[in-house]
Structures are given as structure tokens and as C-alpha cells.
């Protein structure tokens, strides 16, 4: 039996204050003005046959199957392209219509293979359904005419199987154009066209290329839109249609797309983006849609293991033995070196409930505040900067808010690669006419892509963000563009005055900073005016803002701009951090930082601490603990010797790899809980098998504060979900934890955290998702924050002095290296590298400008050595003008690349977020891997050889 399908209304919903009432088959129905007859009919419960229409796309009117009769009008208009009008009397079923529709179907079927029984879409094919609905009984023209399916036909094209995840079988195409429109409207890539004319026409990627060679980014929107088996997931071809579906949330990026996991038993057949998903509205990217095969990859380690030293072979042991051993070691270390000599790292990839438990373990059971999370290395400055200015450590808007923005400023973010589904939505808004300002050292795709072009691209030198934001502010203040009424009513006036006086200084003018930033003053002035006069100006930013020595300063600079121009507190505006990891917002909310309890309350706050002390029955430490980089320092210093790391690969992801490695080697007990033997696990003494998002229940919170359910579709391969492991470790340490399920953990979170007070699994079930704050004042959540007043009361302006980074270029290190991500791979790549996504990006490369390449004798594809003050590595070069002269760029998805061997331990002044985005380097042609790479290869081979035999095969 195939899955029940969601209602397809045929055309998108329209917004209008005006309602139109009409009659369809004698039933009265009222719809917003602008609604199609097809949609109106479906609202009244009548499904009009259709092929080229679907409610995610604008109507096209090509198949002519949806004809209707309208009283008083001649002919048979298509209901998908005809709008409802007051008083219309529409008939959807008459003998004439039936005859016409059968005729249409007959034509389609005469050029369609009749292999329904063996077709991969069998049971889930709209063509099949429509043939049934219109009562097609014969094809009068026969099947022997000119066609696209007969193997002898000159029109038959071979199946395109180049994409690893889906196939294109042109013989089944009905040229409904849905895929072409999906690629344009939903995804915004414009990779598909209809090639040829009339009967000969077929869908074609690029210029009649295979999919893999075209512009296609494999988002899957076309596959989703295709009504036939023409575009089809390979997993469905292989496994058949699923038998049930479970709604869950993508575990990759901070967009937090909702998916329907379609499964057979415990086997995932495919992941389909969920139409009702609040963040994605039925769209997805190549990662969430297709790159989930890592969950059952042979490299998964599914038995607990222990060893005394990292040069010893691993011993597989029972869960009890592993947990008791870990507990005994942790207690021994505390006995010898004090209570604060151990700590933990929560995972921003795990659920809220799991993160909450790890910080609870550290605070309540370890008895200190040495807990941190990978947000340290990405968005900790966001937490600090927004709390200081607006009063809450989170973005102010929903993603949908962008559809009301007039001017969008994207700073240090690359949404089409890093946050692809939001990138698609943003592109749609830009195609509708919103203007775009990009502030980035690199020409990211958004700067110029099909039907999108930035009005301004401020291509600044890496490390000069604050100088640019001050120059923008200078223009706004000195040209009288401040929204004074807003500032007077909503902000602390003295803080505004201090800021105004500071940014007005001549040294902050665009002309004065031009030499430092490399951005022409005119462009800065133009961009400032555009943003300030926007009507609705919205700022979106990413790690290009935070991962600097002045990351927190820049976040405050952004908040200052938004407040000064009155761009906070309604739809279409705001300050929007594009969060990296799927649950980085959640892990921060859940108290993963060493100075903050859940809900961003400082550990020194006695009242907040008291709540937790009462609930947990312990006394809590009022002093902040160590942040991740401080943990490394303390390890080298001997005062920190044991660590419990839940799902995070600090050796690969943190800067200055050799420093991190030395710190881990200095520790006595490193406990790693993960899916794979990652780089960090190679330095571990205890390995606890982790579980993927498919194997457990819980919630994730995305970049718009949206809490969504994660639902289990298969049992944990190692036998325990991550929260169960943490709970078992707490019990082994003598602190009883007895949650029966994650819902109970959420109840505890809600009891203790004012912004989560109204959240429960029952409510999530009812509403689908909830944006916090959710409490008595906002029982269904808060899509837009700071509406009438800021969370801190009055908004606070902060002065933002530009301080150049210590990473300065000189004769020895004349280039600036900056780092980033690519669409197909995800961060350290532990998951995506174990999928076919590597076909798009199989190695990290160094992008270098033609001038810099030429002066060094570097050609495309050459091996080049990249040396910094911290270390050196070797990558292959790609020569491109995306980067400016003097700047080189790489991604960091592959451990052997050693991108972080080069990055230094410079960090943000307020939060110690590492300065990944600026490293002074030299680049020269070389013939062999760097010394570190050779050592890394030997060490990794050795570590794999220490695994139990049956595990080795995989790694």
C-alpha cells in the first residue's frame, strides 16, 4: 500500500483582505481575491484533474486537463490559470468536460510507455492517477506512432544517471514543465530548460548536458515536483515505495528544514521536504534531502570501547564496563586534581534535551561550570553582542520575514552554500525586486546569479568588518539618516549619543577607512543610504562576522545600525544571524556556555541558580568555567585532565590543530561519544557510540528560534540514544537520573527556563513547531522579537572601535587566508564525506587570484604549500577571481587538508571565538604533502589499526 498523499491545492495560496464568493458545482465557497478556480474548488472539497499544476508553483496552464465550464462564458477555461470572481457559477464535471479530458489523457498516454507495473512511481504517479480519474479506457491512436519510449525510436534518449541521487528518464516525460518551474521558482538556480519544440521537446539540464555537468545543485525540488517517474530518487528505484512516513527535522544546518522520513520498517527510503515545515515550506538542499546514508555507513562504531593509553589497542566492552570505567577515571582525576579539573563539551548537532543533560551533568555532577559547545567557535559573539545591545542572544525574525524586506544586507555569509533553503527564499525575494547589499571579501554566488544582482558588493579586506560598519554608521549619522523617533522612544539615549559622537569622528568616515578596508568610499556611502532609506532593511550575517578578533564588536556594530535606522521589531527587518549547526541556537539556549545557565542566566545570578539547585538537589558553582580554548590552555598547564565530548570533533574543527592535539595528549581521560572514529576519537581513552538524528527523539532549535521535533525512525545502532548515554554516565557517577523519555527532559527545561515555559511535546505535536519565547504572554511562541520594546527594555548602543587584528601580513606571510564552507559538504564532513556528496566536492582546494598565482608560478591544480605562524599544509590550487589579490580561501571539510593546522589561536576579545577568517600566510608551489600531513597520515593509520578487527574494515 502506498502512503496517503497530502492535499495538493494546485496553485499557491494567495493573501488578500478581500474575499470572493463563488459557487462550484453548486457549493458556495469564499476565497481570498487572486485565488484560482482550481484552488477554490479544492477548498470546497473538489479535486479538479490536473497535471501541470501543483501548489508549490505558479500555474502554467499547459496540460489542459483542468478545464471547467463557467456559466455565461464560452469555451472551457483552464481552472489553474483562471481566477475566482464574485458570483461565478463553475461546473467541474460535465459529460463534455469528461470527453475533453479523456482526449487529453489519450494524447499523453500515446507517448508514454505502458510499464506501470514495473515503474518506480507505481502507486505514486499523478499520470497514472489522472488516467484513472478521467476514466481512460483506450488509446485510439495506438502506441505505434512517433514516440519517445520505443527503444527503436530516434527520439528516445538514454536515461541520465549521472546524479548520484536521482535519475532522469526522458521517455516518461510529459513536458509539464513542473521541474523547470521548480528549479526557477523554488530553488532559483535556473538549471533546466525545455529543449526542442512541439512533440520533440524534452527537459534539458543546461545545454543538453547530463545533470552532473549542468548548473544543477541537486536540491531535489524538480524531483519533488515531477508528477511521473521521469525524475526519480535512486533509493525509490532500488527499494520501492515506502510504507510510512515520520515527520522530523534535518540535522545539518541552522535552517532546520522539516522532512518526512519515508520508511519501510526501519529502513529509510527517502527524505521528502515537508510542505508544512515552518522554515522550509517544502524545499530542501542536497544535504538534508539526500545525504543521510552516513547513518548506516559501515564506519559507524556501535560498541563501547576503552583503553588506558592512546597507543594501546581499543578493547570492546559492555556499556556498563565502559561507563563505570569512565566514571571511575573522572572521579579519580577530581580526587587528585580538584573539582574543576574535568569538564564536558555539548554537541550543537545533538538535540536540546541531550545538550541540556550534558550541561546538567557538568554542573550538577562534575560540580563545576566547565561546559562549552562548538558555538564557541562559530556564533558565541552573536550571543554576547546581541545580549549586550538588544537583550536576547538570538535572531529577531522568522525566515519568512525576508519576503517583506525591501533591502537586504548580507554580511560575511554565503546563504546559497551555507544556508541553501534560506538562500533560495532570499533569491525569490530579490527576484521580486528587493535590493541587495553584500559585504564579503569574496564574490559569493549571490553577488551575481541568474536574475539576481547585488546593488553593492563591498569587497573588503578580511579583518576590516568593524571599520566598514563604522563607516556605514558614519554616513547614516552625518547625513541625517538616523530614525530619531525610534531611537528616542526605544533606546537608551545617552548610549546613542556616545555612539553617535564616536562614529561621527572623521577617522570613521568612508574616505578615511578606504585604505584599510579596500572598499571605495562611494560604495560605502551608497550602501549606507540604500539601507537607511530602505523602508524595511534587514541584515543577515554569518561566520564572516563572528569568526574574527572583533567578532563581538561587529555583532554590536550591526545591532547599532539596525537600531539607529529603526529596523527592528516588525516583519521585513531585523538582525538575523545565520546559525551554522542545526542546533547551535538550541545548544546555547540550553546553557552550554560556561558562564550561563539555560535561558542565558549568568551562573552568578543567585536566584536563577537557586531554581536549578532546588530542582537538581545540589549546590552549584557560582563562578564561570573554562571555554573550549581555555580548556586546552588549562590542559597544557596541568589543571584540566578529563573531558567528556558529545558529538564534536574539536581536533578537526578547532584552530591551531597542533596545539589542540598537544592539549588532548596531555589529558588523562578523554571520553568521546560519536558516530565515527573522528579525529578527536583518535586521542580518546573511552569511546561511547553515539546515535544519529534518525535514531532518537528530541527537538532542535533553528536560527529563527523555531523548536521542531526530531523523531526516531530506527533503533540506535549502538543500543542507546545520546541522552540515554549521558543519563547512564550520571548514574555511574552516583547522581541518579531517571528520565523515561526526552519529553520529560523538555518538561524540566520548561519548568526552569522562562522563555521555554510554555513548551511541551504535546504542544509541539499540535502546532508543528514553536518559536521561543513561548510562555503565558505568548502561548504559541514569538515569531518576531522586540516588537514594542527590547527584551532588555531600552536598546543599548555600544561604541565599536576598530582594532586591527594581530594577524598582519608582512614579507614572510604576505597573503590573508580566509575559510568557508561549500554547499555539498558539511563542516568537518564526518557525515557528508560518507555520502555521494563528495562527487561535488572531493577535496578542499585553495582559491587564489590569478595575479598571486602567476607571480608565484602556480598553475591550476598545482600542489601548493600554505604556511602561517601556526603551521603549514598542502592543498591543490584553484585559480579564480572570486577572491581578490592578496586573499586566498579554502574550505575545511577534509581532515587531511589540515586547514586548521594553519589557523592561529587568535580569538574574539569577548568570547574567545577563534579568528578563522583571517590568517596571514605564504603560498608556494611544492611537490609533497606537508610534514604535518605526513605525520597525520601515519598517526591515523596507526589509530585505525588499533580498532577491533571487525571495525577496521570500515574506517
Amino acid at each position: 500500500m502506498s502512503l496517503p498523499r497530502e492535499t495538493d491545492f494546485g496553485t499557491p495560496a494567495r493573501e488578500s483582505d478581500k474575499l470572493v464568493t463563488l459557487s462550484i458545482d453548486g457549493i458556495e465557497v469564499s476565497v481570498p481575491a487572486g485565488t484560482s478556480l482550481m484552488r477554490a474548488a479544492q477548498e470546497a472539497g473538489t479535486a479538479i484533474p490536473k497535471l501541470c499544476a501543483t501548489d508549490s508553483l505558479e500555474p502554467f496552464g499547459s496540460c489542459r486537463l483542468c478545464l471547467v465550464e463557467i456559466e455565461g462564458r464560452r469555451g472551457y477555461p483552464a481552472s489553474c490559470t483562471t481566477l475566482a470572481e464574485p458570483g461565478m457559477q463553475v461546473r467541474t464535471q460535465t459529460p463534455k468536460l469528461a470527453e475533453l479530458r479523456r482526449g487529453v489523457m489519450e494524447l499523453y498516454i500515446s507517448d508514454h510507455p505502458l510499464d506501470c507495473l514495473t515503474c518506480s512511481a507505481n502507486g505514486n504517479c499523478e499520470l497514472q492517477d489522472m488516467a484513472g480519474v478521467v476514466g481512460l479506457r483506450e488509446v485510439r491512436y495506438g502506441m505505434d506512432g512517433k514516440n519517445h519510449f520505443d527503444c527503436h525510436s530516434s527520439l528516445r534518449q538514454p536515461k541520465d544517471e549521472s546524479n548520484p541521487y536521482f535519475t532522469y528518464d526522458a521517455s516518461k516525460c510529459i513536458v509539464c514543465n513542473r521541474c523547470v518551474r521548480a528549479c526557477e521558482e523554488t530553488q532559483g538556480t535556473f538549471a533546466l530548460t525545455i529543449a526542442g519544440r512541439g512533440f520533440d521537446s524534452r527537459v534539458s539540464p543546461g545545454e543538453s548536458q547530463p545533470f552532473m555537468e549542468s548548473e544543477c545543485v541537486s536540491c531535489g525540488a524538480c524531483v519533488q515536483a515531477c508528477p511521473t517517474a521521469t525524475l526519480m530518487e535512486k533509493t525509490v528505484i532500488e527499494l520501492g515505495q515506502a510504507e510510512k512516513s515520520v515527520i522530523t527535522t534535518c540535522a545539518y544546518c541552522g535552517v532546520g528544514c522539516s522532512f518526512k522520513a519515508e520508511v519501510k520498517g526501519a529502513q529509510v527510503v527517502r527524505m521528502v521536504p515537508h510542505k508544512d515545515g515552518g522554515a522550509n515550506h517544502g524545499h530542501s538542499c542536497v544535504k538534508g534531502r539526500f545525504a543521510w546514508g552516513y547513518a548506516t555507513h559501515k564506519d559507524r562504531i556501535t560498541s563501547p570501547m576503552i583503553r588506558n593509553r592512546i597507543d594501546e589497542p581499543w578493547r570492546e566492552v559492555s556499556w556498563d564496563e565502559a561507563l563505570n570505567h569512565a566514571a571511575a577515571e573522572l572521579r579519580r582525576i577530581q580526587g587528585e586534581h580538584g573539582r574543576s579539573s574535568i569538564g564536558g563539551i555539548t554537541s550543537s548537532r545533538c538535540t536540546n534535551e541531550e545538550t541540556y543533560l550534558v550541561q546538567k551533568l557538568v554542573r550538577a555532577v562534575f560540580g563545576n561550570n566547565n561546559v562549552d559547545t562548538c558555538a564557541r567557535v562559530c556564533h558565541s559573539p552573536t550571543g554576547y553582542g546581541l545580549k549586550q545591545t538588544l537583550g536576547e542572544s538570538a535572531g529577531t525574525q522568522t525566515f519568512d520575514s525576508v519576503m517583506k524586506a525591501d533591502v537586504v544586507m548580507v554580511i560575511g555569509a554565503n546563504p546559497t552554500d551555507g544556508h541553501p533553503v534560506f538562500g533560495s527564499q532570499l533569491k525569490r525575494r530579490l527576484r521580486e525586486g528587493a535590493r541587495l547589499i553584500v559585504i564579503d571579501p569574496r564574490s559569493i554566488d549571490l553577488v551575481r546569479s541568474p536574475h539576481v544582482e547585488a546593488s553593492y558588493h563591498l569587497k573588503l579586506m578580511p579583518g576590516t568588518n568593524v571599520a566598514v560598519v563604522n563607516a556605514l554608521a558614519h554616513v547614516i549619522v552625518t547625513e541625517g539618516l538616523v530614525s530619531e523617533a525610534f531611537v528616542r522612544e526605544r533606546c537608551e539615549w545617552p548610549s546613542f549619543e556616545m555612539w553617535r559622537d564616536f562614529v561621527s569622528r572623521p577617522e570613521n568616515s568612508p574616505e578615511a577607512v578606504e585604505v584599510v578596508t579596500g572598499v571605495p568610499a562611494d560604495a560605502v556611502r551608497g550602501a549606507a543610504r540604500l539601507y537607511a532609506k530602505a523602508g524595511n532593511g534587514a541584515i543577515y550575517y554569518g561566520l564572516g562576522v563572528t569568526e574574527h578578533s572583533q567578532g563581538s564588536t561587529m555583532v554590536m556594530g550591526i545591532a547599532n545600525l539596525a537600531m539607529a535606522t529603526g529596523n527592528v521589531g516588525r516583519l521585513g527587518v531585523g538582525v538575523n544571524p545565520l546559525r551554522g549547526q542545526n542546533n547551535v541556537q538550541g545548544s546555547c539556549d540550553m546553557g552550554s556556555f560556561p558562564h550561563e545557565l539555560p535561558g542565558y542566566r549568568h551562573v552568578s545570578d543567585a536566584i536563577a541558580r537557586g531554581l536549578f539547585e532546588d530542582e537538581w538537589g545540589v549546590t552549584l558553582d557560582p563562578e564561570p568555567g573554562l571555554r573550549i580554548p581555555n580548556m586546552f590552555e588549562a590542559a597544557l598547564d596541568g589543571s584540566y585532565r578529563g573531558i567528556y565530548i558529545e558529538g564534536e570533533d574539536i581536533v578537526q574543527s578547532d584552530p591551531n590543530t597542533q596545539h589542540v592535539e598537544a592539549a588532548l595528549r596531555a589529558m588523562e581521560c578523554v571520553i568521546v561519544q560519536d558516530l565515527f572514529l573522528n579525529e578527536t576519537a583518535k586521542f580518546a581513552h573511552v569511546f561511547l557510540p553515539g546515535s544519529s538524528f534518525l535514531e532518537k527523539d528530541g527537538t532542535f532549535t533553528n536560527a529563527e528560534r523555531r523548536i521542531s521535533r526530531v523523531r526516531k525512525v530506527m533503533p540506535p545502532l549502538g543500543g542507546k540514544a545520546d541522552w540515554e548515554v549521558t543519563q547512564a554516565l550520571a548514574n555511574a557517577l552516583g547522581h541518579p537520573m531517571n528520565y523515561r523519555d526526552p519529553a520529560e527532559i523538555m518538561d524540566e527545561i520548561a519548568r526552569l527556563t522562562p522563555t521555554f515555559q510554555g513548551v511541551s511535546y504535546a504542544k509541539l505535536e499540535r502546532l508543528g513547531s514553536i518559536q521561543w519565547p513561548c510562555n503565558d504572554a505568548a502561548p504559541e511562541g514569538t515569531p518576531t522579537m522586540h516588537i514594542d520594546e527590547f527584551v532588555r527594555g531600552k536598546g543599548r548602543f555600544m561604541p565599536t572601535q576598530y582594532v586591527p587584528t594581530d594577524e598582519k601580513v608582512n614579507a614572510r606571510y604576505p597573503l590573508i587566508l580566509t575559510t568557508g564552507r561549500i554547499l555539498s559538504q558539511y563542516n568537518v564532513g564526518a557525515q557528508t564525506r560518507r555520502t555521494a556528496n563528495s562527487m561535488w566536492h572531493g577535496e578542499d582546494r585553495l582559491e587564489i587570484h590569478p595575479h598571486d598565482a602567476e607571480s608565484r608560478g602556480i598553475r591550476e591544480g598545482d600542489w601548493v604549500g600554505i604556511a602561517s605562524r601556526a603551521g603549514d599544509t598542502v592543498l591543490r590550487a584553484t585559480i579564480t577571481e572570486r577572491v581578490q589579490p592578496g586573499v586566498v580561501y579554502t574550505t575545511f571539510h577534509f581532515p587531511e587538508s589540515g586547514a586548521n593546522v594553519i589557523t592561529t589561536d587568535n580569538s574574539d576579545w569577548a568570547t574567545n571565538c577563534p579568528e578563522y577568517k583571517v590568517t596571514a600566510v605564504q603560498v608556494l608551489p611544492v611537490t609533497q604533502p606537508s610534514e604535518w600531513q605526513q605525520r597525520h597520515r601515519r598517526f591515523s593509520t596507526k589509530q585505525v589499526s588499533l580498532l577491533p578487527k571487525h571495525e577496521k574494515a570500515g574506517v
Partner: protein
Amino acid sequence: MDIPHLVKMANQIGEFFSAYPDAELARQEIAGHLQRFWDPRMRNAICENLAQAEAEGLSPLVAAAVRTLAHQA
């Protein structure tokens, strides 16, 4: 803890708050930041080795802030 490293971090904090026109306010903010965000072992290390820290280049403004911390302890 590595004193030169702590000095560098502390000076960065100092540089941010030095934009405040009121030096006393700046000093309080720096001390407050160290109090709220630095693990006690880091604070103690810099308090106890203040002379060395100053020799390593700890800025006078930050040194003044550290002194108020030392007084609290």
C-alpha cells in the same frame, strides 16, 4: 596558565572598552567582563602575576581593572 596569552586576551578586552569616553566606566566594564567570563584560574593567574603581566605589556587600563579584581578576592 600561559601569562603572555592571558595578557593578550586581557588587552583585547581593554581595547574594546577604551572607546568609552569615561575611563572609570571603562575600568569597571573591563573588571566586570573578567569577573563574568573568565574562569577563576585565569583571573587568579593574572592577578597573582600582575608584575610579570605588566612587563609582558598588560595595558595600564587593564592593569587597573585587574587590581580591583585582586582587591575583591
